[in-house]
Symmetry: C2
Subunit: 214 residues, 2 copies
């Protein structure tokens, strides 16, 4: 079986930004409101953070349900893990997700600054300073035959796209305009030369973009 | 966790038939051409019967990929298992699927005619003569906390809908007209009083209908 590198449920604004500007500890998405960006996911029955029963079981739910399916490792950028750049100022920082991060696999965090591995629940974060291809190779070995999720942010996805390492993307375009921030694309048409593209509007108001290698 | 009874990837013609008339050994779907009905699924990367690599990874693929996910048992009608009605004329009949049926769970086959259980690969068929609610109870126990798939055919799904036992349905309407056969519905609108309904057209030409209990 081929091990794919997949982007899943990555949500951007209608003008193509995965996060706003000025990320801080209190605002991991900068000036963007994650509640607005991710409302589509939070409304589904399979949203992993939901605390009440219920939730929709329509199209959007297929995507939140698919999130952990056949995924053996994740790769994420430093800015998805922590609010600050440069050397690790606070060695006690353990990510945004509390004691039980929702990954449940090894996670490879791209950083230029070394740090020992960190285990929380059944997620272990490895901090790696290497080229995308080398990190992917390491994540594939850790994934034990399963696919690898490319978790973002937008800059990290672009870096792996530039290196032509991404096999499939699911990008959700939310009905929100940000004006500035960390850009994934100006238009998904930029990827049509290398990827098939299906554009599927959801009754919830978001538009699912499904891309896979030609 | 709630254990749902779910219909998945059940394909009907645009006029609402799950199979044609005159089922025989050679034509399990009667006068309907299963190649036409299921072309949408066969084109996807996750179609379990595909023999070559490749296949699409768009919307349709999410549904074929979801098929085994969190399913612990299946319930099917007699006519999905075998071409003939009445007492078992050929005790050697082992279903349409060869030595490795694609279910990989216990399967409960509704029949008025008793027969010992049959194991093929990691699928065990149990032949049960009981009311829908009692069969569902037994399938739930066998599913060990996972959901139960209601595998069809159309008459069986209608029987469980009539007993108000179905929690969610994914029905695929293919661009094929049959004129007669085993009917699931005249229109999905018949179910709107009890179910939410999302209608999602796929670029492949089929229309996915997602229904879940109000």
């Amino acid at each position: 079986m081929t091990q794919l590198l997949r982007v899943q449920n990555f949500t951007v604004s209608s003008d193509g930004f995965g996060a706003g500007e000025d990320q801080t500890l209190d605002r991991p998405f900068g000036h963007a409101d994650p509640g607005e960006l991710f409302a589509w996911a939070g409304a589904t029955a399979s949203w992993p953070h939901r605390t009440d029963p219920g939730g929709s079981r329509g199209l959007d739910d297929y995507f939140t349900r698919d999130f952990p399916h056949n995924i053996g490792a994740e790769i994420m950028g430093r800015n998805k893990f922590a609010p600050r750049r440069g050397p690790w100022p606070d060695p006690g920082w353990q990510g945004w997700w509390g004691d039980e991060p929702p990954f449940h696999t090894p996670v490879f965090v791209l950083t230029h600054h070394e740090r020992p591995a960190l285990t929380l629940g059944d997620t272990t974060f490895h901090f790696v300073n290497d080229e995308p291809a080398a990190v992917l190779e390491r994540a594939r070995r850790a994934a034990d035959g399963k696919d690898v999720r490319l978790g973002g942010g937008a800059s990290t996805i672009r870096e792996f796209l530039d290196a032509d390492l991404v096999d499939a993307l699911h990008v959700v375009v939310a009905p929100v305009t940000l004006g500035s921030g960390v850009r994934l694309w100006t238009s998904p048409d930029e990827l049509r030369d290398r990827f098939h593209l299906e554009v599927v509007p959801s009754p919830s108001g978001v538009t699912h973009h499904l891309l896979w290698r030609r």
